[in-house]
Symmetry: C2
Subunit: 338 residues, 2 copies
């Protein structure tokens, strides 16, 4: 086990490296931090830390930089979550309170996160699977053409066109609409399939085809839209990556363009609590030199979606984690109110 002081040295190395972006040497460390020991002692500690794999030297006779493992230890044991300053807190409120609809909330959240953390922000739309139904509407657009509108408690709206196998009367439509709503309003999306299973049976045989079509479209919507959507912003912050950014940025930009990759990325995060994935802990190769800080957010206790940021492994973890957590909490509140 590492002694208290060695941990302190690691913390100092991480802090300095994050600040200066340059390998940090023993002398500089003792000057900037009150470790109470001489550079020589620090050198010994560094040698141990290097043996254990927490730090590395880019080349002989250079200072040390933290490895992924070093950052991991730093995040787990050495760093807290830095609370936001009150101006930052106020900025969050001001920025999010003006949102008019769900798209707007998500859009503002992305921009806010990107600004606060100066990194790339990713916000997932509230998931349909875990949402509940607020309302289902059926509109008749033409004789044999219906439109299905689905409204969730998180404010998300989905619509689908339906071509009916047979004309569908206005009274049947009203009937179906009423029965559908009485069964599913307030229920979770996941429960809908079994709740509507036997609906066609209660209709006249001539309408049964249409009812089935409507229901299967509804179920399809549920499944399809479980493919989550997300929004991304702050990509220009990638230019902050550091001196080797020209090399790093390409694979990162490519990864960020693939919604699938991003969804998987957020999916890997724990459902509750904050998740930090550092460097090679990320499955996707292009993101091997980035860290991802993600957290779930939701209108109630339960997370309905996730949000987070992507940045260089050399990032200010306490500050980033603080910002991500604060934003997630406030977005949750906003969703609960609406």
């Amino acid at each position: 086990m590492l002694s208290e002081r060695r941990l302190e040295v690691l913390r100092a190395i991480v802090q300095d490296y994050v600040g200066t972006e340059e390998p940090v040497g023993s002398k500089a460390l003792t000057e900037r931090h009150k470790l109470g020991v001489s550079p020589a002692t620090v050198r010994n500690d560094m040698a141990v830390l290097e043996d254990e794999g927490f730090i590395a030297q880019p080349h002989t006779s250079a200072g040390r930089i933290p490895t992924d493992k070093g950052y991991r230890l730093f995040v787990d044991k050495l760093a807290g979550v830095k609370p936001l300053s009150s101006p930052e807190r106020r900025a969050i409120h001001n920025f999010l309170d003006g949102a008019v609809d769900l798209d707007d909330v998500v859009g503002r959240t992305v921009r806010l996160l990107a600004q606060l953390t100066r990194q790339v922000a990713i916000v997932q739309y509230p998931s349909l699977t875990r949402s509940t139904v607020r309302h289902v509407e059926l509109l008749s657009l033409a004789a044999a053409r219906l439109m299905l509108v689905l409204i969730t408690d998180t404010g998300r709206v989905e619509q689908r066109m339906i071509d009916c196998p047979a004309p569908f009367g206005e009274t049947s439509l009203a009937d179906l609409r009423a029965r559908l709503n009485s069964r599913v309003v307030g229920r979770r999306f996941a429960d809908v399939p079994q709740l509507v299973q036997d609906l066609p049976e209660s209709f006249e045989s001539e309408d049964r085809g249409t009812v089935s079509t409507v229901l299967s479209t509804l179920l399809e919507t549920l499944v399809e839209e479980t493919e989550e959507r997300l929004m991304i912003g702050g990509t220009s912050n990638l230019t902050r990556f550091g001196h080797d950014f020209p090399v790093m940025i390409r694979p990162v930009l490519e990864a960020l363009e693939e919604q699938v990759v991003l969804l998987k990325l957020l999916g890997e995060a724990k459902d509750s609590g904050m998740t930090v994935r550092i460097g090679h802990e990320n499955a996707h190769e292009g993101l091997n030199s980035t860290s991802v800080v993600a957290v779930g957010y939701g209108s109630g206790d339960e997370a309905v979606a996730k949000l987070g940021v992507v940045g260089p492994t050399r990032m200010d973890y306490p500050g980033t984690m603080g910002a991500v957590r604060a934003v997630a909490r406030y977005v949750g509140q906003i969703l609960a109110e609406s």
Copy 2:
């Protein structure tokens, strides 16, 4: 006026520079192109072209590179639009034919354009202003809460929540829905305001407040949503910018994050025909070293929106223009069919 041969020299310079990304000298030119004259002659021509501002040297004793003005002349007079190869053409069809809804069409178009041109692609959603109304629906969500759904002929759907000043009966609702639709279905969005102007008067005084609220929400939607939406993709192609890409990329990424900037960018393009804006012709400073190739697309003769690509001024104009035009045409067809 420039002689035929001088134009030929300019064309050769543009082509070589686009290919090699390096300043091109007189000797190399005569070797790669059959100009039928000696390097010395080409040097004289180059001197003239430089005096006229079509080409420039990065430093004394380097080759020449085209200026914005040079590219402009090239695009206007020297280059045609290169038709796509038939595999490319097939790729467009295969890729776009699978689209299931408007979002999907736009999403696929962006990816397709980015792939074909290897540049950043921007696709604007079909404009509401120039669209016509397919259907307006009013739903009662709660006693004093309505939902307004707007469906366009291009398949776009917008919805808004409305809090009514007073409870609104089901019959009044049906009444309003019917009258609203009879007035606006098939009409252009731009004409809607005057078409519904006198609607409140024909209602009982107790409902008038709600009707007015609904109408003003409708009009608001029209105005707000005239703020067009757009989708962007292929940003990782920015890494293809060339040797100075670390410097260039930052402002470009920043510009691309601002929807407003992009909308203005597309807005600057002509309504009909292809628009090419080269380097400093772009109003936005961050895009001064990029060129934008944009074109309108639509389901009929008329453009309902625009799409285009952003890339380095040093781009393959004929090829890019060909790809942009071909994609726009095919997207237009897809929209017309749906």
